[in-house]
Symmetry: C2
């Protein structure tokens, strides 16, 4: 069943059927109804392939993430897809993993499918070296690129991100204000946002007169149990710390497990902050004070930017917004001097 069949049954030309389908106002009400009836009767649905060939678009965008099962990314995917659908776009999901070659292949795949735009979730996609990012910039020559929680400068590239520097500085400030004297930072990788977090942490430490800051940041790859081991090792190597700033909630969970295994009282002896305000923060006991980096707002904003861009509006290449601290049970309630462990 195609547009020609419909046109025959309705006694009109395919042009008229097409007009009805696309809501043109240059069709008489009578003709329109006649055509609609035939369409209805036959449950006719226009062929998407032919349509996209003619229009040169399928109203589809690509979503690239490294791992959709990561709680933060999963959240982002959810809101992105919802917003895109609300604006009549479908989402093509690609989980690339962390290998550059895979990322490039996936991006090529999306481009070859003629997606209308590409969204990168997370700053893992922005490499430290400019050369490593050329594949994104190349892509942007054909297709608009939106980077969520990362930053990349280039033509047709738009970055939407939480101010991780300030947020991490503020959450570290919070620990100091609640009596911590020697916080340490746990981070996952030195991605763009990872670096910002480290810098925010160091800034707060400097502001509070903590020395040797470069030795107070620890990389924690791998699963949650690894975090505990790394903290254990740090302690055994003589690193003194009475609080942990974690750059995601899973790392914070690891810190909770460390504290519990050492019988440290949380938050009296030991304070912990997470990041992302994910379900992990409230599933932990005690529940973790965390940073809400407004995933939903980020996604709504990103899709809004995309829609405006298609309307040829001039847009900011970078949109940055502030996070907010959500206090739970791993930080002290009010200001009093703490006692380093």
């Amino acid at each position: 069943m195609n547009i020609y069949d419909i046109s025959v049954q309705a006694g009109v030309s395919i042009a008229t059927v097409s007009r009805v389908l696309n809501g043109s106002d240059k069709v008489s009400p009578k003709t329109r109804q006649k055509v609609l009836d035939v369409i209805e009767k036959n449950r006719y649905v226009p062929n998407a392939f032919a349509r996209s060939l003619g229009l040169n678009t399928m109203s589809t965008v690509g979503i690239l993430c490294s791992d959709s099962s990561d709680v933060y990314q999963a959240q982002t995917i959810y809101y992105l897809e919802r917003e895109l659908r609300n604006n009549s776009y479908t989402s093509m999901l690609c989980c690339t993993g962390y290998d550059l070659r895979q990322k490039q292949e996936y991006l090529q795949l999306l481009l070859s499918r003629n997606v209308d735009a590409v969204f990168f979730i997370g700053s893992h996609f922005v490499e430290a070296s400019a050369k490593g990012n050329s594949y994104i910039l190349n892509a942007a020559q054909k297709t608009p690129v939106f980077i969520l929680n990362g930053e990349l400068t280039g033509e047709n590239v738009y970055s939407i991100l939480c101010d991780d520097f300030t947020s991490t500085r503020e959450i570290t400030d919070l620990l100091f204000s609640r009596g911590s004297r020697m916080p340490i930072l746990l981070y996952r990788t030195l991605s763009y946002s990872g670096q910002k977090k480290v810098q925010g942490f160091l800034k707060s430490c400097q502001d509070h007169g903590v020395d040797n800051t470069e030795k107070r940041t620890f990389s924690c790859p791998g699963p949650v149990e690894n975090t505990r081991l790394i903290l254990q090792a740090a302690k055994e190597q003589g690193v003194l710390f009475d609080s942990v700033v974690a750059t995601d909630d899973e790392l914070a969970v690891g810190a909770v497990k460390y504290a519990l295994s050492c019988s440290l009282r949380i938050p009296d002896d030991f304070q912990i902050t997470g990041y992302n305000n994910s379900v992990l923060a409230t599933c932990s006991t005690p529940e973790i004070t965390t940073l809400d980096n407004r995933v939903e707002f980020m996604c709504v904003t990103a899709v809004s930017l995309m829609v405006q861009m298609f309307q040829k509006r001039d847009l900011p290449a970078k949109t940055m917004f502030s996070g907010s601290i959500v206090e739970h049970q791993t930080t002290r309630q009010n200001k009093n001097s703490g006692q380093p462990s």
Copy 2:
């Protein structure tokens, strides 16, 4: 740049270019190389829309989930996408929420895009009433449907699922064997798998001589704090229980929080089991004994079924596999008689 431009530059016909592109063996090595050089030089990529119009497929499948940010669904999406991509399919992701109308609209959307197959994640899509499922059965007339962790009988519908009845019976058996005398069950909804879990729980209770089983199952919708409140209420209403069988890990986390708030010792006074073997089970302290329902295996199997189906093989409409218990810290180590709280 299209196939015609390439053919001119290479001094051949578009048919030959097409043959080269599609790896036909009916092209002389010399011609092939000549064409490949021109393609390379121009970085030509064939138009996906025209291609799909001709072939009547875009090698795309639809993935329908209710909420991609749910940890279980996020896992499933990850493995599904990976397997599909390994078999040269791209994934169109749709997050429908829990409203039937939305589900139907999304399914229509996917069908109108001519996806090659549709995957439903989770049994939320299978309604209790046959009428509520007609939209799926209708879709299956055109497009093969794969239901992951749910069951629906119909032409062109394939169900791949963990044996939730047996798994829940076994994990309840485990609690009895570790000294529990009066377990209760927490479930999310009475979806297909939800029902199976309830039945498995009741069977185990009957086998162990527990009466009044129908009053020992509790529905726990909503966020994690709600679970604690429901358990609290149950206790205050005089329900006696010394262990909780939760039908997902998040519910189990709620049970952990309940136990900790009552100062019950886990697992000595109170035992808990989760379900799904998700990150939540290990992020909890104590870590939760849970059921591994083999998400990865399920996805690999589902995609394998799809591939075989396209090869016109005859396939089982239902593929069921067993789960396995992963013991952590919320169940006792060995058999000894317990003391009901």
